[in-house]
């Protein structure tokens, strides 16, 4: 297996394996472990305050002197529709009571989600070498600022159209997110009908339609899937779900356990948790929210509204009332640390015979 290519050189990494940014699961320890292993860790900071953003970056830097990516959410921000928000909050209060979960709702005035524009200065001051992003495109000024500072920029596409639009903004690489991927869909053009293209179809079509390197995301969890992605034209793979059961992950024990037993059809796409399509393991929250018939507010509003009940569920290790993001391929490697998982991925890939 030849690991080095144009992209690994650009990123200054040994192996073209990227740990997916998973807000709520990824820790500075996870990011550092993957970067120290020769891959690229990704620190998710989407929507976080400038202060917390800086704190997490500095914590990661204290654990590695290798390059890592910082991942931004570049969506536009919506206003709250108070009536819709109130209806969902009433529903969640009842849902919590039914399942003995106590929490206080937040007033819509206190919903916070920081724009990525408030984070750019910090990324520049901290000399972040790789900036990845999802839910849209970076504006021209941010691209200029980051590029002048030497950052490599990686956007996320769920269709050929999105990939071409991102390439036109002058960024360096694109992550092709197949329908198999866990967590939020990166979709930013026409989410009705939502693009749901399998990686086997999406990856080669994006590769054929852009001239910058393409990263593959979705369904990659072992040596076979890594090698297949490279055959399809990927310059790197992005792996998320496989790292969730690790020691370095913030996932609660009942989420890790459930994930390790997951089967191919256990996940589905839902807007119930955040107002944005995301793939997770089917659970009570998802089912009951969808069956409520209520209008789910747009992202990021629904995300803020469901915050308190999810936080309460996490405290009680209750995997039925918070999100269990997962791709369609459950983790196959049952090792404890991100470093061991990473090493095993490399070993498996190298052991596949050429055909």
């Amino acid at each position: 297996m030849i690991w080095q290519n144009k992209l690994t050189k650009l990123l200054g990494i040994q192996y073209p394996i990227i740990q997916a940014p998973m807000l709520g699961v990824t820790t500075p320890e996870m990011v550092a472990a993957v970067s120290n292993s020769g891959g690229l860790g990704s620190l998710p900071v989407g929507g976080l305050s400038p202060e917390i953003t800086r704190e997490r970056i500095q914590k990661t830097k204290a654990l590695t002197n290798k390059p890592f990516a910082v991942n931004l959410f570049v969506n536009a921000l919506d206003n709250v529709n108070l009536e819709e928000a109130l209806a969902i909050q009433d529903f969640l209060d009842k849902l919590g009571k039914k399942h003995n979960l106590e929490f206080d709702r937040k007033s819509p005035g206190s919903f916070t989600f920081y724009s990525y524009k408030e984070q750019i200065d910090i990324l520049i001051e901290e000399n972040i070498p790789v900036v990845s992003f999802t839910f849209g495109w970076l504006d021209n000024d941010c691209i200029k600022q980051l590029k002048n500072n030497g950052a490599i920029l990686i956007g996320t596409a769920t269709s050929v159209k999105e990939a071409k639009l991102l390439e036109d903004t002058g960024i360096d690489a694109i992550t092709a997110q197949g329908v198999e991927a866990g967590g939020h869909r990166g979709t930013f053009i026409n989410d009705e009908p939502l693009p749901q293209v399998g990686l086997m179809s999406l990856l080669p079509q994006i590769v054929d339609n852009v001239s910058i390197p393409v990263l593959a995301a979705g369904g990659i969890n072992d040596g076979r899937t890594i090698k297949a992605a490279f055959i399809l034209g990927a310059s790197a793979v992005q792996i998320g779900t496989a790292f969730i059961p690790s020691n370095e992950s913030l996932a609660i024990p009942s989420y890790k356990d459930r994930l390790l037993q997951a089967q191919d059809t256990d996940t589905q796409l839902t807007k119930a948790f955040s107002g944005r399509w995301a793939r997770g393991i089917r659970n009570t929250f998802m089912t009951e929210t969808e069956q409520s018939g209520l209008t789910i507010p747009e992202y990021t509003i629904q995300n803020s509204i469901t915050g308190p009940i999810r936080a309460a569920a996490i405290k009680q290790d209750n995997n039925q009332l918070t999100n269990m993001w997962s791709g369609q391929s459950a983790p196959k490697i049952k090792l404890e640390t991100c470093s061991d998982i990473f090493k095993e991925l490399i070993k498996q890939t190298e052991s596949i015979k050429s055909i």
Copy 2:
């Protein structure tokens, strides 16, 4: 590239490339062209009368002395709900008038769809070497009869659960149908929520959970995707959409043209044409039927109801009022004959460098 494996030996073929059975598109000429090229052609006979079944088999046999598969639909048959059927027929009459398409509705009493059980004797009499099937499992008696006659049996699964159930019936191989695949989903356990697993996730999981050979279907249209499927553990690939534009195909010119221009997100899953989930290029029929708000009768009833308007559309080369089944990967090889398309697939696969 090493083409030979346990499955090719079992099937008696040179290349593990199977032309997908596409009822309405596949001709005996297409089947024979692929079998004569060293692959395995598949003749679809789902729901056809015993007489037509025999006629098509004999026509295929006249064109090749190589093995080919005959493909059955093994679903249970539903009764007509007259009220629902009438409402859809009224809607289709209006839709036809709006688009200047003349046709006569059929009376529900004349809806015909033959059970596969009426076709088994013919398959045995004609010594069909490979019998593939979809929409369920073959009953024990049919399996015994076919096996006693030396036939190799191949079922279709859209989930690990379906694959294991099929393996338990004692068949020889399983086609793993990724969500990328065009035409009808083979799903037969729980179609709500419909399993929509991408091939990158589905294929290795099925391979790991059964001990018989697995064929890969969905998104395969060139050398890269063929090779990737083998890396993921496939013993053969099944290719449909790539053969639709060929001379040997029954597809109308406007369907072929549309397909050759198709992009990754142009298809969607719909029940509008047949009452069963199937992937095709989005068009007027699909959109207007779904927006009608009417209850779509179950397969095969809706299939019979929409028959006349689709037949009229086909006569007028109108691709907006009949089904344009397609996978998420449009045909990439723009050659005229199935034999040339097949050769090019082999050539592309062999030219991929090992990594």
